[in-house]
């Protein structure tokens, strides 16, 4: 895969993931600097950049959070560097203040901010539409339709960023990031452009008198976008019916028109420049149209903007789209809902398709991976809380352990806001002790989240002596997004080994009382948690056990876990099928014919915790030696 990122083979057609296409675009642009914090669906971009950074002579960093990443890019811009920052939609919201200041001070070297939205929230807790951020910060935004455009937009964005001295945003969506498509490679620069001296009178300072300048710059982008190669039109010269599509909507619309044999009658406008809108270009087709369908991901952003444009021009049009109800108001576009909306635009009835059965089919819930230490953590937390006279309050956070709010974590927590929020919600609750709040308060964070946003919250909680327990679920990885390094791991994006930061030492320096435990020592750790729940003040408990998926990659020697069915008593045991029903690891299955437990050899990673918990001692662990 790395080969396609760095091959100087212009014209060669490679199959690329959208995320890879962004990497290739960055390399073709001759970037000097790249920084990101991992977030699906765009996590892979910086990981790949890190692997090729040395070869292509640029610097790549997994930053501690998105604000660090973006502001570092701004810093390098002052020296004329080309930099790229990659965030997901939630990360973009974290960057909001920096972004609104950046748009007022502008840039020197090109700065491209790639944001990945997650329509349908495949791997997010929300489907925030990042286009509002471009509008709010008065910044230009591009959105590719396919993998080829994703690559091509990166050098285009850098050129514009430097011509107009402004940050340029590229919005991706999950279908582009995780999809793959054929991409024709462009040329690689022989060497990166040299950096420039920072002159005494260079300025990148956010001040309110720059407001007008910023708006003038935005007008400059609008003019450039009127003739941008990112926008395409196909169809009749003076369409009566028109589809305006942004991002993935374009290819779905084209296919829908082909399937409906309407490509010659309905105009299709594929908009790659999302903000500011190329108004004259859009009006050139909008003026003749009577009905227009807008196909866009998440919110009716373009729909409202086009309505405003039509209103200003005094056009009378019927608008179809996400606001009008022709497309669903939530969730992602797909070929079916676009086809159905196109039928409505054209005035064709829905066909009476011979439908397959719509009887409900059993769904598969999300679960922690086989052997995941979080399963043990939440199991024992629940055990400890049940021992208390008063029920505890548990506050969640963002990471794999977000799933603890549902069955895999014994429905552990009552509240979860955004990433890094748990410490603050818990801190507030923990201050209510003198006012009648007498339930123990527990929150959690992962090791990567700890560095990302927990630190200021922990300072606050410690300084103000909140009554609460913070459990740091230290699995030595940013597991949810694919094991990216963070300051606790001693590794960097470029593969250097550095001094890891000790979470324990940091907490102690803040004046916290710190304990450590292994969630796989279920009994002892349950006792420790029970004890900590009774203690007043702020307590930190670091749960140390590496991510199972990471361990299964590193473990030497084959571990086999099996059930000795002569020892398993089945339903006669009284354990209520503990392993498969209560413990709930995907590796613990049930042999319905024998009425006994069985290990699923495909799922099991060999952690052996279930063997410790089986009351009949029927689970046997054989072989293996830990790495």
């Amino acid at each position: 895969m790395d080969w396609t990122m760095t091959a100087n083979a212009p014209g060669k057609v490679c199959l690329m993931q959208g995320n890879e296409a962004i990497v290739r675009g960055a390399v073709e642009s001759g970037i000097h600097f790249a920084a990101s914090y991992p977030g699906s669906p765009s996590s892979q971009i910086l990981g790949m950049l890190g692997k090729i950074a040395e070869e292509r002579h640029f610097y790549a960093q997994w930053a501690t959070n998105e604000v660090c990443a973006f502001q570092a890019c701004l810093g390098t811009s002052l020296a004329g560097a080309r930099s790229i920052c990659i965030v997901k939609q939630n990360g973009l919201l974290c960057v909001a203040d920096a972004l609104h200041c950046a748009s007022q001070h502008g840039v020197k070297g090109g700065v491209v901010l790639v944001t990945s939205d997650d329509p349908g929230a495949h791997s997010s807790t929300n489907e925030f539409d990042s286009r509002y951020m471009a509008e709010s910060a008065d910044l230009p935004m591009l959105e590719p339709t396919n993998m080829q455009e994703a690559k091509d937009m990166v050098p285009y964005a850098f050129a514009l960023s430097e011509a107009l001295r402004q940050v340029v945003i590229i919005r991706l969506t999950t279908r582009v990031c995780h999809g793959r498509g054929s991409v024709t490679l462009g040329e690689l620069p022989e060497a990166n452009r040299p950096l420039t001296t920072v002159n005494a009178w260079d300025r990148m300072v956010c001040l309110s008198f720059r407001h007008q300048t910023m708006l003038d710059t935005l007008e400059g982008f609008r003019e450039a976008f009127e003739t941008s190669p990112c926008n395409h039109y196909e169809g009749p010269e003076a369409p009566k019916k028109l589809i305006v599509a942004g991002g993935t909507g374009c290819l779905y619309s084209r296919e829908a028109l082909r399937l409906l044999k309407a490509s010659g009658d309905v105009g299709l406008m594929c908009l790659g420049t999302i903000w500011p809108l190329p108004e004259q270009w859009i009006l050139s087709k909008l003026r003749t149209a009577q009905e227009v369908l807008i196909c866009e991901e998440v919110d009716p952003f373009l729909e409202k903007a086009l309505m405003a444009l039509a209103g200003r021009e005094g056009l009378t049009l019927r608008f179809l789209g996400r606001q009008d109800g022709a497309l669903p108001r939530v969730g992602e576009l797909n070929p079916e809902n676009v086809l159905s909306a196109a039928r409505r635009l054209i005035g064709i009835a829905e066909p009476a398709r011979q439908k397959a059965s719509s009887a409900p089919l059993l769904e598969r819930d999300l679960n922690f991976c086989a052997g995941c230490p979080h399963r043990a953590t939440f199991y024992l937390l629940k055990q400890a809380l049940r021992r208390e006279k008063l029920p505890g309050v548990v506050i969640g956070d963002i990471g794999c352990y977000f799933m603890a709010g549902a069955q895999p974590g014994q429905y552990a927590y009552q509240a979860c806001n955004c990433m890094g929020s748990g410490i603050n919600l818990a801190e507030g609750l923990g201050q209510l002790t003198p006012y009648g709040m007498d339930q123990p308060v527990v929150t959690m964070c992962g090791d990567s989240t700890f560095f990302h946003t927990i630190l200021p919250g922990l300072v606050n909680a410690s300084y103000h002596h909140s009554n609460m327990l913070l459990m740091v679920l230290d699995n030595s990885a940013t597991a949810m997004t694919g094991f990216q390094p963070h300051p606790g791991t001693g590794l960097t994006a470029m593969g250097e080994t550095v001094q890891p930061m000790s979470i324990r030492a940091i907490c102690e320096a803040m004046g916290c009382r710190v304990s450590e435990a292994d969630p796989f020592d279920v009994q002892e750790t349950t006792d420790l948690v029970t004890e900590l729940l009774h203690e007043p003040g702020l307590k930190v408990l670091i749960m140390k056990q590496p991510c199972a998926t990471l361990m299964s990659k590193q473990r030497k020697g084959k571990v086999t876990v099996r059930v000795d069915q002569s020892k398993c008593i089945g339903d006669g045991c009284g354990c209520d099928r503990f392993c498969s029903r209560v413990w709930g690891c995907p590796g613990n299955s049930w042999d319905f014919k024998a009425g006994k437990a069985v290990i699923d050899p495909v799922s099991c990673v060999g952690c052996g915790v279930c063997a410790k918990l089986c009351p009949a001692g029927a689970i046997i662990v054989e072989g293996g030696e830990d790495a």
């Binding site: 057609v13 490679c14 199959l15 699906s40 495949h122 791997s123 396919n146 080829q148 279908r175 995780h178 999809g179 793959r180 498509g181 054929s182 993935t248 290819l251 779905y252 084209r254 296919e255 399937l259 797909n334 070929p335 079916e336 086809l339 398709r353 397959a356 059965s357 719509s358 089919l361 059993l362 769904e363 598969r364 819930d365 999300l366 679960n367 922690f368 991976c369 086989a370 799933m403 069955q407 895999p408 949810m480 998926t549 099928r577 498969s580 029903r581 209560v582 709930g584 995907p586 613990n588 299955s589 049930w590 699923d600 050899p601 495909v602 799922s603």
Partner: protein, 210 residues
């Protein structure tokens, strides 16, 4: 390359996170790209690293750039790693022309293991799958892979089976070559053995409900 039997040609690979869907779709798609086709792949896996439903859409054309998702009823092939997931996908994407191959070995959802739900009767699942496409062929992919030493190679067994289906856009030789580039040593030997057994399962006719 073979001229495509359909253009666009649409293929869905479905199963459960961790079964090797993504690798299978990636191998098929990059092979078709290298043969000079325009390829689009849509992966739906979300947060389901393990245990959730996952699907990959692979679309191939000699003339168009395609969206990464296949419209309902338009799949020409469905490769299923698990019967319940195969049915879920067949209900939405199978049409009159669809050829289905799938591993009939059930993987129980957590709710079944917890006793909150029952896995549908396997014979009813098989009958409904067979009723939805032009043909449905069972390939015991996980069993083949386990007999060769590694349950995780079930995806390779299904790729082998797929390459031997009538109307498949690429033949066994092309896929075998790609697999030989991806793996080395003992792992390669094991994967090639699994691949051949998958192919043989189709040639022997499997349990064909066509």
């Amino acid at each position: 390359m073979k001229k495509l039997a359909y253009d666009p040609l649409n293929l869905v690979i479905c199963g459960i996170g961790g079964q090797g869907n993504v690798l299978a779709s990636e191998i098929l798609a990059s092979t078709m790209n290298d043969l000079g086709c325009r390829v689009a792949v849509g992966e739906t896996y979300g947060a389901s690293q393990r245990g959730g439903s996952v699907m990959s859409h692979v679309r191939v054309s000699e003339q168009w750039d395609l969206g990464v998702l296949i419209p309902a009823g338009e799949a020409h092939f469905i490769i299923g790693f698990e019967p319940l997931e195969t049915l879920r996908i067949a209900r939405q994407y199978a049409g009159d022309k669809t050829r289905i191959i799938y591993d009939p070995r059930p993987v129980y959802p957590g709710s079944v293991l917890r006793g909150e739900a029952q896995y549908p009767p396997i014979d009813a699942l098989k009958a409904e799958i067979a009723s939805l496409g032009a043909s449905a062929l069972e390939v015991p992919a996980a069993d083949i892979a386990m007999s060769c030493g590694d349950a995780r190679a079930a995806n390779i067994a299904l790729l082998g089976a797929f390459s031997c289906l009538p109307g498949a856009p690429l033949d066994s030789a092309a896929l075998r070559e790609v697999i030989s580039q991806r793996f080395r040593g003992a792992v390669l030997e094991m994967n090639l053995a699994v691949f051949e057994k998958g192919c043989a399962a189709v040639k022997e006719g499997g349990a064909n409900h066509g």
